[in-house]
Amino acid sequence: MDEERRQLLDRLVALEFTAIELQLFLDTHPDDQRALADFNATAQELAGLRELYESRYGPLLSYGFSPSPRAWRWVEEPWPWQM
């Protein structure tokens, strides 16, 4: 995996982790407006970054959550443990 792809992937994974941590916090603090704003800002940034990554390197999500224009790239390596 080239360095540019790795850096993009690291940013994506860091944002996903931020979203998970905020989601868990919101489950027990649903009225926390600051956490809610952070969650929505993270989700929006994540959607943009995922779209950029997928346009270059193929779909990240299964079951129709990522499009696969032109070719079926889901079957391409690397899988997560090969990265």
């Binding site: 992937l9 690291d10 994506l12 994974v13 996903e16 982790f17 998970i20 941590e21 989601q23 868990l24 916090f25 489950d27 027990t28 603090h29 649903p30 779909p59 990240l60 999500l61 299964s62 079951y63 959550f65 889901w74 899988w79 997560p80 443990w81 990265m83």
Partner: protein, 190 residues
Amino acid sequence: MWVYEKTLLYPVRVTRPDPRMAREIITQYGGPDGELAASLRYLTQRYAMPVSQAVATLTDIGTEELAHMEIVGALVYRLIRDAPLDAIIAAGMDPYYADHDRGIYFITGTGEPWTAAYIASKGDPVADLHEDMAAEQKARATYEKLIDLSDDPDVTDVVRWLRQREVNHFQRFGETLNLVHEYLSRRRVF
């Protein structure tokens, strides 16, 4: 339902084979306090939870634990993928090799296969959430032993991250238990 994402939740960039460490880490894949047990425990306890916030917490942590299972699997895989047979024998991993080669299987460090007896689902939200908090502490303790046993900074980095997640989950389960207690005391008044 679940949707798969083709990434690891935390990167595993281990390159140095170490079957000894693989044999120790595999208990967090298929052992009593491992990630498979954690995920299945939380996901199956959801049905009996009386408040929606508790269902949400168990759904989200149970799902994160599945992602941790994949991380631990990646760690074990990368530690044995390129290990030569004599290193596998020297690490005492040859009985595992006989049954599984370099495939990844759900066992403890001493070779016992995973069993549903590792998890409880009492249908009692207070009992189940106490079990979950204990499970997070037991997993934290095991990860601390694995940090003691690791001499590869790439392995230690991932194990430290996993350890910290157990601490955060313990906090969230504690808050969830308080919400359940509040609900149960309200119900007693009316």
